[in-house]
């Protein structure tokens, strides 16, 4: 008798083994789920040092000596929350920055309500952001600060840098869409057919839950099925469960986006792609990318399905600065900030890049205004003597 074509006995034995494992897992999972779980997010200590309307500015308490004299202001997107940068101890971009000796400020956009529906991109960029930059400049008695933007917050930072270049020393953009004329990401394809006027007229503000549903639809097989299958397979593992719940808390914590801001963002960026062509108008002024003359570090993810490389990589070639660098990491949209591998690459790279430019500033310190006048006077005097 030869080997059977289908080893039924083996399959049945595996199934029986799996059933036993599942029973054991279910028993242990109930113990885990009923135990005290540590699922807190954004636990790094901070102080709210500035507040305007719903917008707050967090200043993280340093954990070591501040090694860079220029503080870093981080601007998150209006979609989801900035807590993602401080998801949990050991997977926190904020903590990594603090360990590197960076003085970190973070904008918390809060939860827009119906009364915020009239707020435009101008109100966010030339209003809230500029007021916060002014506050930090005064607090540190500095003329320039470092700015880092994330996703839509990166787009706002690019606009800000073009409109107020004199206030920024360095600009860091991460997963920042600036070129919207690409078919690489589904979001870019779908957004082109959205009637944003009707949408905002119907909703007032863009509902966070509706956007989240849209994000889930980008990959339902993974995000609505496989993810939870993975959870059931690991729910006897307390650390896994805690991390999973933290991520769920962050993902579904979605503030609404102010209606007029969303309308302008979709029309000017997704529909007309004005920003990368330096044709976008904010607050009555043209956003000319050539005016971005400060050093620029541009991060993006190779497998980002929300903001694909095609949406990010053109920026460095369009700005006026000669000191630019693109960094493409082998990860997705969120992986840049939370994956263990990127934790080792992302924050240290930014810290090193900023430190280099901070040190360079010290070495080639620009003459003060008075010194320049003195030099000119000396030249004139010398000429007269001749």
């Amino acid at each position: 008798m030869g080997q059977p074509k289908i080893p039924l006995d083996l399959i049945l034995s595996n199934l029986a083994e799996d059933a036993e494992k599942s029973t054991k897992r279910a028993r242990e999972a109930s113990e885990v789920l009923l135990s005290q779980l540590d699922t807190g997010i954004a636990t790094t200590p901070y102080d709210v040092v500035y507040q305007e309307d719903r917008v707050k500015l967090k200043h993280y308490r340093p954990v070591t000596d501040v090694k860079m004299k220029t503080p870093l202001m981080v601007v998150y997107a209006l979609i989801n929350r900035e807590t993602m940068l401080d998801l949990q101890p050991g997977r926190s971009v904020v903590q990594n920055f603090l360990k590197e000796g960076i003085d970190v400020y973070m904008v918390d956009w809060g939860y827009p309500t119906r009364k915020d529906k009239f707020l435009t991109i101008d109100d966010h960029v030339n209003g809230y952001m500029d007021n916060i930059v002014e506050f930090i400049r005064r607090r540190h008695n500095l003329s320039k600060i470092n700015l880092m933007g994330i996703c839509m917050g990166g787009t706002f930072s690019v606009i800000y840098a073009a409109l107020h270049p004199e206030k920024l020393k360095n600009l860091v953009t991460t997963v920042t869409p600036t070129n919207f004329d690409t078919d690489q990401g589904l979001l870019h394809i779908w957004m082109k057919d959205i009637d944003v006027n009707r949408m905002i007229d119907a909703f007032g503000n863009m509902p966070g839950d509706l956007m989240n549903f849209g994000f889930l639809l980008l990959n339902p097989a993974r995000l609505m099925i496989d993810k939870y299958v993975g959870f059931f397979q690991n729910m006897d593992n307390k650390t896994f469960v805690e991390n999973f719940v933290r991520m769920e808390k962050w993902i579904f914590d979605s503030p609404d986006v102010p209606g007029e801001t969303f309308r302008q963002f979709v029309k000017d960026c997704y529909h007309e792609n004005l920003l990368i062509q330096s044709r976008m108008n904010v607050g009555g002024k043209r956003v000319d990318l050539k005016k971005i003359t400060m050093p620029l570090l541009n991060f993006y993810g190779k497998y980002d399905h929300l903001v694909p490389p095609g949406a990010c990589e053109l920026l460095t070639g369009k700005v006026g600065s000669k000191d630019t660098e693109d960094v493409c990491l082998d990860t997705g949209h969120i992986g840049i900030y939370v994956s263990s591998k990127c934790q080792r690459e992302f924050a240290p790279k930014i810290a090193e890049w900023l430190k280099e430019r901070d040190d360079r500033e010290k070495e080639t310190k620009a003459p003060k205004k008075k010194d320049t006048i003195k030099q000119i006077e000396n030249i004139i005097n010398a000429n007269q003597e001749m």
Partner: protein, 298 residues
Amino acid sequence: MGEDQGKNTGAEPLFENWMKSTAELWTSMAKMLAASPASGKKETPESDMQKSRAQETLESALKMLGSLSSAAGEPETADSIFKGMNIFPQILNRMAQTAWDTYAHFQQQWIETAGRLGKQTEAYRFDDLDKDVFRAWTDLYEQEFRKFLHIPHLGLTRFYQERMSLVMDRYTIFQGSIAEFLHLLYLPMEKSMKVMEEKVGSMAEEGDILQDPDEYYKMWIKVLEGHYMTLFKSPEYTKVLGKTLATMEDFLLKRQEIFQDLLQTLPVPTNKDMDDLYGEIYQLKKRIKMLEKTHATE
């Protein structure tokens, strides 16, 4: 025949007499009322005015009744009334005929609609349960049923009724779109299952059966993901997604109008009131902030 019947009964003189006595009754009633002491009694100017007006109205009514009775008592009028009574069954018959014709007309329309329904069903192959079912339903609704919700409304509450009809209309359209959209989302599931059936079948034939059930799941989720990606990139999906969102937004806008109507009757501000207020606050805040900045730089 009717006229003959009226003459043969000999009821006209009786009718004339009855009408004459009725007219006399109303006239004497009116005279009595005019001569009553209450009419001459004057208490206060106000009550006098009120009584006089009431009395005048009553007298006028009695006179009118008297005149009518008198007129009805005329032989010609009585004759005309009797003729009318004789042809009453004919009138009733004609009215019934008109009502029946109207009913038949509507029934005919419904039969035609039902007939078209059958044609549509055939055109979209209802027996094959696919997304065309939803399209067929939407088309049917738009062509055959929607017009009933668009029948013009009349009267004082016409605008409220119209808004109610529109919200029902938009809701029905939205239901059709969402059903089509959800069906489209289900298609990759169906297809991935079929692919798995084929794959497992061919693996079984080759004796290459996987022993770990987890491997089948991994295989299926990969196939499913692939199908979803293909679907999401298709122009058809984008079109259906856009249509679903548009119909949902249309429905929400119309629903807001209904809420607006309802809330207006309650002592609470409506969304429109609040939006107007928020708009003004926004403008004021903006101006104040600008002034503050200008003042700070001066």
